[in-house]
Amino acid sequence: MRSASVPELVCLNRVTCAYGAQPVLINVDLAFTPDQFSGIVGPSGSGKTTLLRVLLGTVRPVAGTVTRQRGLRVGYVPQVEAVNWSFPVTVAECVLMARTHGRVLPWRSRVEHAEVCKILARLGIEHLARRHIRDLSGGQQQRVFIARALLGQPQLLLMDEPTAGVDVATRHEILHLLDDLHHGGLAIVLTTHDLNGMAAHLPHLVCLNTEVLGQGSPRQVLTADVLERTYGARMEILEHAGMPIVVDRYDPADNVVSLRMPSA
């Protein structure tokens, strides 16, 4: 999404990334502005997480350029599957990790304590400050890592599969929270596998499978043609309450391998 009037936070120009000889992203052109709330969709191994890492700055492209706004602050919320839930940290300790610079003493200052409390209160989890991160619900766990990212006062929040493995109520909770944060002036880019529960509710989508195969609003992107090119599978698009609903179009005749039941 390019906007002539809004300055871009990050701009990717013909970015190609590879792990060894295997290309993961090819000639990706994308730009993210401060008013952005984008979802990156695509099948497993399509380069979604790599794209987030490029935006984060931990993966360098082998070709192309990444231009960041000067002094850009980026927050990152990892996938819950990537978090070591056995690690001995309380909610407050986890959030305070975002402050590694400026203060060398191990314990938090009064100012830091107040900041952590304020962010936890903003996200409705102040009462959980002393709890271990494992002893939380899925939605609360997401809020802890969002709180850690917010403590760095980011302009751009990157989230890797924020609704993976959560129930419907938690997904709604996360969507509402992200919507609030976006309306508060935060640009958000997230990856998701969930086309109906998550992607269809976002204002902007990028369809990715090594290269960008489509971008725009859910109505523009969630089409049978774009999705077939992205996922390599045929899908049908229905409409419900003005929103596109993606359903699998499974045709047994497409099966290459037929399963035969043994005759009685």
Binding site: T58, Y76, V83, P88, V89, R103, P106, W107, H132, S137
Partner: protein
């Protein structure tokens, strides 16, 4: 009572007790990072690798701290480089480097005989060879490591828990990892005399594991593990004298007994806290998160 206090009349015992207590505290402190980063195997391997340097310095007549120190630092940096590159399996590469170094030490002793410091003491630990300079060395290294952990607390915590986000947040994780390996090498060098290379890994792992079973807070785990390590060293060294068993095995057995006692008290609740730590840190695959209560 007199029997209990009798060994304190001997200088060698007093020296050994100080070194064992500080060695326990040092290993307890460093062991927290070793356990949480899934580096137990590295700690075990590094102690064996340093044995090669020990043998070489003993035979060449080079100062032990210098010879084994250079060898240990080189091994630590090599292991750190191998684990970060991941061209081949890190555990396999570490196994090659460390066992080759250990084997070299054994071969050197076999070929040229046992000179200088005791061969058995290096393997299993002994208080008999503890000199006054060893006492000062362990105190100095414990102080140095404490300073590193104190001022590097935030970077070390972030890198240990979430290296990718730490790096993205401006923490130089490669330097932090290298620093941790150097601290580990120094700790092994300083404690080798009392604990022995074959048993150092246990003193790195047991206090931290026991502490993890007792707390969910990282800062409290650091403190508890250090105290548990010191107490284990102190009690183990006293028992070593009275039972006439080498110091290394006695200290490890005291630690193992403490582990069993804490496990009996905390039950599965305590053990559950430690589940997944090693697997996650070593493989990068997380244990299934508990979406409860």
């Amino acid at each position: 009572m007199d029997d209990l206090l009798r060994p304190f009349e001997f200088e060698f015992f007093r020296n050994g007790l100080i070194v064992a207590t500080f060695a326990g505290a040092l290993c307890g402190l460093v062991g927290v990072y070793v356990v949480l980063k899934g580096m137990s195997y590295i700690g075990h391997g590094l102690s064996h690798a340093i044995f090669g340097g020990f043998a070489a310095s003993a035979l060449l007549g080079v100062n032990f701290a210098l010879g084994a120190g250079v060898w240990g630092v080189a091994s630590a940096l090599m292991i750190n480089g191998v684990t970060r590159r991941r061209v081949i399996g890190a555990d396999a590469a570490i196994g090659v480097i460390t066992t080759a170094s250990f084997a070299l030490g054994l071969a050197l002793f076999a070929l040229f005989g046992r000179r200088g410091r005791s061969f058995d003491a290096a393997l299993f630990g002994s208080i008999l060879g503890v000199a006054q300079e060893d006492v000062w060395a362990i105190i100095a290294i414990t102080a140095l490591v404490t300073v590193v952990v104190f001022f590097g607390y935030r970077s070390l915590l972030f890198t240990t828990f979430d290296p990718e986000v730490a790096e993205a947040s401006g923490v130089r994780t490669a330097r932090v990892d290298a620093l941790l390996m150097l601290v580990l090498a120094m700790s092994i060098l300083a404690t080798m005399q009392v604990l022995g290379v074959t048993l150092i890994a246990a003193t790195l792992v047991i206090p931290a594991t026991v502490a993890r079973m007792l707390t969910n807070s990282f800062s409290r785990m650091l403190l508890l593990s250090t105290i548990i390590g010191a107490v284990t060293g102190f009690v183990g060294m006293n028992l070593s004298y009275h039972l006439d068993v080498q110091s290394g095995p006695t200290i490890v057995l005291v630690g193992a007994t403490l582990f069993a006692a804490v496990f009996a008290i905390t039950g599965t609740r305590g053990l559950r806290r430690t589940v997944g730590i090693h697997e996650h840190a070593a493989s990068g695959v997380a244990p299934t998160p508990a979406h409860g209560p």
